[in-house]
Point group: C2
Amino acid sequence: LTTVALDLLGGDGAPDAVVDAIASLVLSGDFVDGSLALVAVGPVDQTESLLRERGLVGRVRTVQAGAAVPMEGDPLEHLRAHADATVSVGVDLVASGAADAFVSMGHSGATVAAAALGLGRIPGVVRPALAVVIPALAGPVVLLDAGATTDASSDALLQHALAGWAYACALGWPAPSVGLLTIGSEAGKGDQLRRDAQALLADQLPLAGIAYAGPVEGHDVALGHGARVIVTDGFTGNVLLKGLEGAVRWCALQMGAAYPDPVPAREVARATATSDFAGGLVLGVNGVVVAGHGAGSPEEVAACVRLAARAARGGVVDGTRAVLDGLAQVRL
Amino acid sequence: LTTVALDLLGGDGAPDAVVDAIASLVLSGDFVDGSLALVAVGPVDQTESLLRERGLVGRVRTVQAGAAVPMEGDPLEHLRAHADATVSVGVDLVASGAADAFVSMGHSGATVAAAALGLGRIPGVVRPALAVVIPALAGPVVLLDAGATTDASSDALLQHALAGWAYACALGWPAPSVGLLTIGSEAGKGDQLRRDAQALLADQLPLAGIAYAGPVEGHDVALGHGARVIVTDGFTGNVLLKGLEGAVRWCALQMGAAYPDPVPAREVARATATSDFAGGLVLGVNGVVVAGHGAGSPEEVAACVRLAARAARGGVVDGTRAVLDGLAQVRL
């Protein structure tokens, strides 16, 4: 049984989109066969009333929480002042073992911060990373960090590489290769951080038994020929991820307009947004937490729950801990 | 009369793609009416023979040069050892006034380096930038630096902002606003470089009479709602640009496959590649030089020539010099 807790109040469409997602998830195969359970985290009165409206009372557990973290202001400050924020309560369910994973479509910075505060970092991890699964042409690719931490060091990029590899393994990908996002494929290209990281990854990843695919470029993220796991700092990763989202919206409109019926092109964009791509997994913390991105439609919420359940079942946290610990032993 | 010199040997499709581009350009309106002239830069025997095959002898000037800079190795080293490299000879034509602009589809790092060496930097510019015109949904956007210089300082981003603004003005855009590419739209977001640059741009751009649009995000580059000129460092800009190219290729295949006929979707991608987007302008040097990107098809070469001619006619170099000088005066 995998139990996923859901932030009822996170995201533009909350709480309706979250309750709609619950309504569709209770019809799914793994809910019906008892291998998936859901917990709705929010003000209990509001939650119960919404569940009642949709005939869902008794199908999912409810846990009391206060408000969501507002999109404005410093999320860390807000979390410190509001222990009952939905993300804090949800993360605490994972910390206590009451849930196997937590999903929020709200402020992703707040979700990352709550995960780091409530779960603690895995030994050897200095900063958490946000990892997204990109549906690249040659097959899915894990891109990280998508925005959890700016101003990374080369050591942080090595930690991201190990955690990203463990995530890809948890998703069931066999022997995923790891590449470093840079510019130009020749040695010595890129900025100072990349030149440092290039040497470190080439040296250390093989010690951990991980295939280092070398430098990859921006187009490799959508094409997927370079590596299965693509590592970068949170600034570059977030700019690139949002750039890709903008490009897909551009294409849906421009390419759709090239046909009498624009709907199939838009449908490709919609299907992409409701794939594994709908959420980022917080890596490097002692638990499975997914920060949803995009507008947070019911389909996107449901996609995030499926992703969280897969990551929990695949043992991403134990896998990350093992590979970090293994490399630390070799380096001693 | 605007004279554009062309690197006969630069790019994957050279020299045939370049000669094919010349063949199409001599049929264009501004060539026929005498407002555009072309110079082919390459080994004269080879050039003459290719022009003869296509009945172009006497239509364009030819200037003797040696080989192109190879894609492998350090371009700066190669340029120092080979004064007759096509990019060096082409840039010298601009420096001497024999041409108003130079276009190469070859190694873009070599083109930028040759431009900086042969033309010198505009006073106040520490490093050149590569600026691309993105056909965003809300209208075209100038993105820079697309990869000329990694490891930028906030001062370099301010110089890019001024040069990018002058480029947008040279393209005829009225009062273009300038935005800083970062993550999150709140003040204080982004990495250290962006936090420094944010304060500097907000302070200095208004002194130069330029509207500062504030922070913009990755999706603004394809959507175009944030600002007409988007400033970033060359590492982030290159990753994002290649990411967008990858996403458009992804969409052409995925969205095209959603229809019985994939050709219209592919045609949107092809038309984009052969728009102003086909080349990057080297900004901050004393002359107009365009580094083509992509595979360098004849259509892309011709698009780069048109872009170079527009930038030269618009007075991008004088405009950049004037805005840098004006701000320097105000800051004294």
